[in-house]
Amino acid sequence: MESIIKDFGATRALDGVSFDLRRGEAHALLGENGAGKSTLIKILSGAIRADGGAMRLDGKPYAPAGPLESRRTGISVIYQELTLAPHLTVEENIMLGREDHRCGWLRRRVMKERVRRALSLVHHGEIGLATPVRRLGVASRQIVEIARALAEDAKILVMDEPTSSLSGEDARRLFEIIRSLKARGVGIIYISHFLEEVQQVADRFTVLRDGKMAGEGEIAANSLDVIIRMMVGGEVKGLFPRDGHSVGEIALEVQALKGKGMAAAVELSLRRGEILGVAGLIGSGRTELLRTIFGLDRLETGTVRVAKTGTLHGGPGPRIAAGLGYLSEDRQGEGLALNQSVVDNLTLSRFSPFVRFGWLSLSRQRKAGWEWIRRMNIKARSPLQEVAHLSGGNQQKVALARLLHQNAEIFLLDEPTRGIDIGSKSQIYELMSGLAREGKSVLFVSSYFPELLGVCDRIAVFHRGQLVETRPAAGWTEESLLAAATTGRTAAER
């Protein structure tokens, strides 16, 4: 791709961007949200047309009329949101849209063979062809998606944030698959916010910033700091704020708690001014822990006590009243009402400041909306803008601002930094440590160990629905966290 230009109305989304991909290499496409990565990919896949520049594929001019043509020429894109039909089986999904047939009748045996061959490339014998996709986990779904691309002989595979919903173990398996694909001569364009994994998996990189080229080079020849500087366009101070917040008395006490998806009872306490990290693979019970504490999942045994108000009962309503605030890991599916306005989303859990006798004062509500937009640095045109039109990072800020607006004292944050740009991430780290300084408590669930190590006072590790161990953050390393999360045993026991 050479000197690609794309305008959206008056804004130039891409300005003279060039990009090349060799056979059998993994090329990382980096940049913050809104830098133009997705636009570039959409042009490559034929979803939109460039306003200037040229593309060549295997030396020949290439100008796809639409996504179908680009797929036929061997370019497959695996989007962040997977695009599988949940009710169809693995086999049906892989062959969807290009079924082998004779006069409309399916040739089942031929198809089965093709599916088996495609799946074997990503060496995953354990996925049954007849399993409906909705029964598979996120990681397996992604494998199916890759197999689908391979079944149509993809020469170029674009992966958009493939690990954002994978746990460490599954991500490593994905990297192995990528390596084997590279060995087969498939070119891979890899888009990710996780720079550490880019270092592991990619050979070269291109950085976009505000639609322009901000740098490119060999991964091996550039340090992380250099790449980050290219992405943000200047010196970044340490991503994680290191400040002394002091830990006070116990704020939340979880005793013998057991809920849906948890194998054993959990004992946990959270103090004022403390950030307690919860590490674990996906499905290890960490999300269920938060949901049970917040009253979204049924409590099977045990109690949750808040120091101020005592033992908690009932659903989310009483918990919010007791000072709990919960941030869902599923921002779009659960966290936000997407087709409602920023301000309605922000104030949904606490209308009381704007209400008299059940009637809302819209002007006071809107004023509060402007206030939060300013304080959280949310990029929104107005409080009345629909949340769906904001970027991921800004949506997350709206969801977080809601917890601040409801005056939460105890923050239960599930993957607060997933799939958002570095700028917003560092702002969220800053926010968490600010909360701790004010004497509030944070329970911080994440699959991304470096951020846990960087932000938390203590870290608890979960494995298969059980709490393995809780230690001060200084007592953990990335390796020991990973070991505990994947094996369920700590170094001392092994």
Partner: protein
């Protein structure tokens, strides 16, 4: 910057409101320009009778707007209207006070809605199925109660509610029309300016979010369906008032007119979108069409075809506008 944003927003609100409104004006304009019906169509008396004819559908559409914004659907409304009209006729026929007939008619609808809401939330079956069942049940009960025929009732002041020449004369239009306007204003305010209204939108937009924000979604839903039921009850009383008998076979298929009105007025079956004003405009677009077509002497099937087209066009225009905004 703040001001220009507010301006843009106000413009968008205008467009959203004007869309269906233009449709209504267009319908009126077309018939006003047709020489065959022009003078009869534009007469004040005709507008009065269109307003009166709209009352029954409009009252149903008020409740349906809440249901549809909350992401639900209620197919039982027409049966509920028929049942309520029979109950009112039955009570008045039994020699009891017309007031009692009115109140019991309204409450009948409320009970049907309440049962809908309770079944939907406790059995966790989608509203479409529950209210489809209720559509049959309510209709059956009405026929059973009426002994499979019409229930006659003596003429009382209840029949004045839908008269074309109201007394005292300063009322100008039937009391039923005033009731419709009154309730439209109240429900519009409730949707926009109350906490309950916000909760209705939130539940329709994303029920999981609403739950997570501490809203008692089940309680709200029961309330929404019961409210829709009460409006059906009132609509049933109006139905009785117009026919002067309780007819268990009345209003068959009316639920689709009511749903269509809400949808033409910008309500989304996916929830989270819709307005009372829009729904009312939807009601009047259909009423004027029926009225004009009848005057032209066009057969019933022509009306059905035109209304079918209008539904498709209105909703696709809405989708188109929405996509442009995004």
């Amino acid at each position: 910057m703040k001001d220009s944003n507010a301006g843009v927003k106000r413009f968008r609100v205008m467009i959203n409101f004007l869309g269906p409104f233009m449709g209504l004006l267009l319908v009126i304009l077309i018939f006003a320009l047709l020489p065959e019906v022009q003078d009869r169509f534009l007469r004040l008396g005709n507008f009065k009778s269109v307003a009166t004819q709209s009352v029954i559908v409009a009252l149903g559409a008020l409740g349906m707007t809440f249901v549809i914004i909350s992401g639900g659907i209620d197919l039982s409304v027409a049966s509920s209207i028929a049942l309520a009209s029979c109950v009112t006729a039955y009570v008045i026929n039994a020699g009891l006070s017309p007031w009692l007939g009115l109140v019991l008619g309204v409450l009948t609808g409320g009970v049907v809605g309440l049962v809908n809401g309770l079944l939907i939330t406790s059995l966790r079956v989608v509203p479409f199925i529950i209210t489809l069942g209720m559509m049959g049940i309510a209709r059956g009960v009405a026929k059973w109660m009426a002994g499979n025929q019409k229930i006659d009732a003596p003429i009382t002041w209840v029949n004045e509610l839908m008269t074309r020449s109201p007394s005292p004369g300063w009322l100008l239009v039937a009391p039923g029309v005033w009731l419709m306007i009154l309730f439209a204003v109240i429900t519009a305010a409730v949707l926009r300016y109350t906490v309950f209204g916000r909760h209705v939108f939130a539940i329709g937009s994303n029920e999981a979010t609403a739950r997570l924000c501490g809203i008692r979604t089940n309680r709200a839903k029961v309330f929404i369906y019961a409210l829709a039921g009460l409006f059906c009850g009132l609509s049933g009383v109006m139905q009785f008032s117009r026919l002067t008998v309780g007819d268990p076979t009345v209003a068959v298929g009316l639920e689709l007119d009511i749903i269509a009105s809400v949808v033409i007025g910008g309500g989304s079956l996916n929830g989270g979108q819709g307005s009372i004003l829009g729904s009312m405009i939807g009601v009047f677009i259909m009423s004027f069409l029926r009225n004009g077509c009848t005057m032209m002497g066009w057969p019933n099937y022509i009306q059905e075809i035109i209304i079918g087209f209008i539904i498709v066009v209105a909703v696709s225009l809405d989708q188109f506008r929405y996509r442009r905004e995004a």
